[in-house]
Symmetry: C2
DNA sequence: TTCATATGCGTAGATATAACACAAATATAC
DNA sequence: GTATATTTGTGTTATATCTACGCATATGAA
């Protein structure tokens, strides 16, 4: 045994619904930072991979099922945990709106979605982790079609547009955006239409993941 | 003590000279993989940050001084080390040609530069780590001016061009490339000229890091 | 029936990219 | 000393992409 460093994983899970980006937080049950809000996560077991550890912790603490997960960064500064040296591998996840609702089995007091504009005080260095995760999300949606992981399977085009304006925090020209996305050939237009309130009904689209990978293999890159 | 997971750091350090990209490797002294080549690295001490650990290990094992270092990825699969569970935070570094020469103090048999086209068999999962590092290097030089970290302080423009053709493994139109770089306004043309063999002497340039950060703050982004 | 609202499609000017040709300054061979 | 090969250095044009708009269409509500 060479060292006494402890290894944990933390997950920054984003959800999106009608113009709001939220992040999943859990309330800490024990010291330190007892009762404070924190990112879901915990110690890695000796016989499980890092991703497995994240999925297990998320499932135990929140019941949320992730459909996109990638490693974000590893935070290992001395003193980030007052108890002892703890190095944490942070992950970055996205969930679709249906998983966005917390399962009834979880105590709503213990796991909750927070709008990223209205965050509570966070335990440890989780504020810093979250900040980096948001930057990653913002930059990544411009060159990888991960935005679709935040939408329903079928969605009107305006949902996609609104997602991008919200995430990138700037206006997007609807017509140019549509042209751009259309030229990437990753959307299937369905026959179905939906209508909310006044205005012309919108066609529903679905993201064609298969075609995306095919195009990617041919060197056609996604970029907004 | 919750677990027995060991934490290490590994460094993928790239050097460049006259059309050759090399990576720094060390020969292992102990089992497992005794005498095999591996990435420099080792166990993280309880009281040092991750970056400090990388710098210390690099200094101990190779004597090379790094001028650019960033975290690459954390490798934590079960079974990547036959002895026990070892999670390794890999870093990615670049050195200038002067540091490229291994210091006389180091035993050349123990630390060596290898052309990335002519690699020996590597210990552990270091081949995988190196592959990811190369991909990162290739993608990163297109949107961050890290290429300059691989060149001398003063360099002819053709050096920069050759670096890019080598790293990206494709031809670049010299005139368009020059226009692009010039428009970014991050190069200072010096009065000095150099001449190797036949051909018109070349002006020397230097990278203006200060101006780069200034432009970045104004939202002007580097992109090749 | 009129109005407000949201979707859907097209066009023109500006900007950036890609392709390409030739002049200038040196070392070397003769 | 002259011709030749070699390398650096710059400009121009066609093409593609991006940006900024205008207007028609289909609905709910007044």
């Amino acid at each position: 045994m060479k060292n006494k460093i402890q290894l944990t994983v933390d997950a920054v899970v984003f959800g999106y619904e009608s113009g709001n980006i939220s992040v999943l937080l859990v309330r800490r049950k024990y010291k330190p930072y007892k009762d404070a809000w924190a990112l879901p996560g915990g110690f890695v077991l000796e016989k499980e991979n890092l991703e497995e550890a994240v999925q297990r912790e998320l499932s135990e603490e929140t019941g949320v099922k992730i459909n996109y997960l990638e490693q974000l960064y590893t935070f290992g500064d001395v003193g980030r945990d007052p108890r002892c040296r703890v190095v944490s591998v942070a992950y970055f996840g996205l969930v679709k709106p249906n998983a966005f609702k917390l399962s009834a089995s979880t105590d709503a007091k213990e796991a909750q979605w927070f709008n990223i504009q209205k965050l509570p005080k966070l335990a440890f260095d989780h504020k810093k982790i979250l900040k980096i995760a948001i930057e990653r999300l913002q930059s990544k949606i411009t060159y990888e079609p991960i935005g679709f992981e935040l939408l329903d399977k079928k969605f009107p085009f305006s949902d996609l547009e609104k997602l991008y304006t919200t995430l990138l925090n700037r206006d997007i020209d609807r017509r140019n955006f549509k042209k751009k996305i259309t030229s990437l050939k990753v959307l299937d237009e369905l026959d179905e239409k939906v209508s909310f309130g006044p205005g012309r009904p919108a066609s529903l689209f679905s993201f064609n993941k298969k075609r995306y990978f095919q195009l990617k293999k041919e060197g056609i890159i996604f970029e907004i």
